[in-house]
Symmetry: C2
Subunit: 480 residues, 2 copies
């Protein structure tokens, strides 16, 4: 779909308009877009200010030209791919830390700032931004807001939405609006701040954020518990959470993932299911760890090792390698489905068992890991892109896992967002009435449909053209 | 404004339709409605099921008849007063605890259940619902969701919105929609759950809620710190929060409030500014309290007394008496303004000082207390209702305090909601663009304007008729 973007040359903006082949190519896809599904924008705009964003949106809205916000491109559901062409709005030059207010536990940033840069800006004040995802050193705050990201520390500290106080947002017609409040608590009017968080750039474009910060804990320790079986691991996880152990990270990796990491990285993990744990406290950390140990040891545990400092980092290192290990381990196959289903914590053991069954039933290699303490499970389903049957099986397996999560009261996506890849699950999860309500909100905020079209909501007009390439779930899935 | 509600008699509902004078009278006002501003509904409906609510809304929507949800009537901003007449929808018969799932840390309830009843239902599982407001023993979960309530424990555990996972909501046209997820974390579609929370029944009527629960801490201790001056108290509060002390409650009361409580209740509070504190932990509570003490003692503190059990309850008892004490203390005066402004914690000392200045400037008795750890401040401004000049001064003082809070980056209402009383501050806080965005949402969800009309959003058509009775802020305020 090509759009006439010549109007961009007449806009008086500080930022840059590019139509260079290299810029168009790098903005055609993100981490979650397979090569065949990349779509080049007609132009890439690099705004430098809120006024720039406003000018671009206002003009694009008048002309019905799509605008898809882009930043680090680390989204896993093709969230930032300009599938309808038009403008890729690259927010990475709006990357300033505007103000740190340690006495308020707050920081104001532009959306293009990298997550870790926030932590660096406030480290001297003994503060940090708790909900950073694992991609925090490469992904931007704007991207995290777009998907309502979460991460390893969410089990203790909550998600990105919990730490966003106020947003400046440019609406589709270019109007600039401030939503939320710098007060830690407000009941003043509708909670539009939380509505924009997680809306993936389909309701407006965030140009400034006020984030809340936390004090760094005085004591930090962490390590691993290794289990005999996956059932032991998942039941221990569920018990730790319901017992109220104050755990700051609680990650699971299964045997398959351990094997992948060993093959990829210079580590020697026991090839068994295991959990990675971390504890944060001002006082009493050893007692809390001992409390956790008694709960874990009620299950069949082969090792429970917790330490501080260097030793802790050593125990944890393998966890950081997973994202890269899975690609390396499957050189001839592409990831057909990237999962982040999340279920109520009491159903976590059933969910993990269901993934094992699906892997057997569809004869796919499906490694599992994830933020277990939140009931969140990551998995990859791989297939040889040149083998249509294998691709079909992989997609069906992916859909079967999501279906099972929804049956267990869970969600299709805990943190990556719906983007393009998970639109097919939206109605199954929220029902027709739920999707209708979301669509009404979309039409209110984006009547011309210019903001990141083809994302989040299933689009009836483009269903036909995309089902062949993305989102096809034929075969066994449909009969479930 | 009278509405023909005869259609109610033709609806096949399980619940009751009443036009009895006593029912109409009791539904004409809530805690925040002064007698002269009470408005009787044309009918009171007591639904027994979601289907009942759907039938009533659908029929009322077709006829443009207002429907104002009502429950315990404990709102402080006339949130539940049917100011446009029509139907008062009394949700108190939908008060079932539907299911407790301790392994998921979840409970499903109907909206009419009283807050404390949730705690009673899960006490046997060692669980509790952390964000209950101080009115938790008389107010309903539905009411708490309507205003996004918070309370003394919000400083540690967050607000009601943080503990609402999923809602069943009946939309204006009677459509039933489920929003949110039973997963602890979701990024699936728009966050409509948080949009309905705090919308005061103006976007839909909640008929079922899934709430998250927490494990009761193993250790609880609490008590008081008494300060020489109010500045010492507020600076200590700000320091405790920014130092990252893990405090579960951190309340302030000023000297005036202490005096009121002494006069009303059988307690002997020192008549000085003081904070009430409580600590929750599984381990290490004494070390945390010692950490807090070092921070508090950097200020001019006359006493710092923390204990467990009975002694703690004794130290805290006076805090519970405040709501009633203020009415008793001012028998000839009515509360003209009930404040719950909230500011960033670093600005709390300035905010409290500003209230003192306003009290002097307008010659009003303005006692202060509140959830200081959140930057939240409660105050009352009293006036003799038969003395127009005094009433005017009181309203102007109230508005001046809210203005100052907004100037300091804060909000007009931390937890009571906008209701009717605070609509006049909405645009000052959110700007024209902010209010426009809220109005667009209202029109999307309630195109016929039947849901609790005259609340939250300033209504141009009824401004003229109400400014004489509610919301008049003439005089000094307007020139600020």
């Amino acid at each position: 779909m090509q759009h006439d973007c010549s109007f961009l040359d007449d806009l008086a903006i500080e930022g840059e308009v590019s139509r260079g082949p290299s810029d168009k190519r790098t903005h055609a896809s993100d981490f979650g877009t397979r090569e065949a599904q990349a779509v080049e924008p007609d132009a890439v705009v690099f705004p430098e200010s809120t006024a720039d964003v406003s000018a671009v949106l206002s003009a694009a809205n008048d002309r019905g030209v799509p605008v898809t916000p882009y930043a680090a491109g680390t989204g896993l559901e093709a969230n930032a791919t300009p599938v309808h062409g038009g403008i890729s709005l690259d927010m990475t030059r709006m990357d300033a830390v505007l103000e740190v207010r340690p006495a308020d536990l707050q920081i104001d940033v532009e959306p293009g700032v990298i997550g870790e840069a926030v932590n660096e800006a406030v480290a001297g004040n003994g503060l940090f931004f708790p909900p950073l995802p694992s991609s925090g050193s490469i992904s931007t705050i704007g991207g995290m807001i777009a998907t309502d990201a979460s991460g390893q520390q969410t089990v203790k500290y909550g998600e990105v939405a919990d730490w966003v106080l106020e947003l400046e947002v440019v609406r589709a017609d270019g109007t600039v609006v401030t939503v939320g409040s710098k007060a830690a608590k407000t009941s003043s009017g509708y909670n539009l701040c939380e509505l924009f968080v997680g809306s993936e750039g389909t309701l407006g474009v965030v140009t400034r954020a006020t984030l809340e910060l936390a004090g760094r804990p005085e004591q930090v320790k962490g390590g691993r518990a290794v289990f005999e079986t996956l059932a032991d691991a998942t039941e221990a996880i569920s018990d730790v959470i319901t017992s109220g152990v104050d755990v700051a990270k609680l990650e699971l990796i299964d045997e398959r993932t351990a094997r992948m990491v060993n093959a990829y990285a210079d580590v020697e993990l026991p090839e068994r299911p295991m959990t990675f744990l971390e504890f944060h406290a001002n006082h009493g950390i050893d007692e809390e760890i001992a409390f956790c140990r008694t709960i874990v040891e009620a299950h069949d545990v082969a090792a429970f090792e917790i330490a501080g400092g260097e030793k802790m980092a050593e125990l944890w290192r393998a966890r950081e390698e997973i994202a890269y290990a899975s690609e390396e381990f499957n050189p001839d196959r592409e990831m057909e489905g990237s999962g982040d289903v999340t279920v109520p914590i009491g159903r976590y053991p059933e969910m993990i068992a269901a993934v094992q069954s699906v892997a057997e039933e569809y004869d796919r290699f499906i490694p599992c890991f994830g933020h277990a303490g939140d009931g969140n499970l990551h998995y990859g389903v791989f297939a040889d892109p040149d083998d249509p049957e294998e691709v079909e099986q992989a997609r069906a397996a992916h859909a079967a896992i999501v279906d099972r999560a929804i049956e267990l009261g869970g969600t299709a996506t805990g943190e990556h967002g719906i983007g393009r890849g998970k639109r097919k699950f939206l109605e199954r999860e929220h029902g027709t009435a739920g999707v209708d309500a979301m669509r009404a909100v979309k039409e209110t905020f984006d009547p011309n449909g210019i903001l990141n079209p083809g994302k989040v909501l299933p689009d009836p007009t483009d269903q036909a053209s995309t089902s062949a390439t993305i989102g096809s779930t034929t075969g066994r899935t449909n009969s479930k």
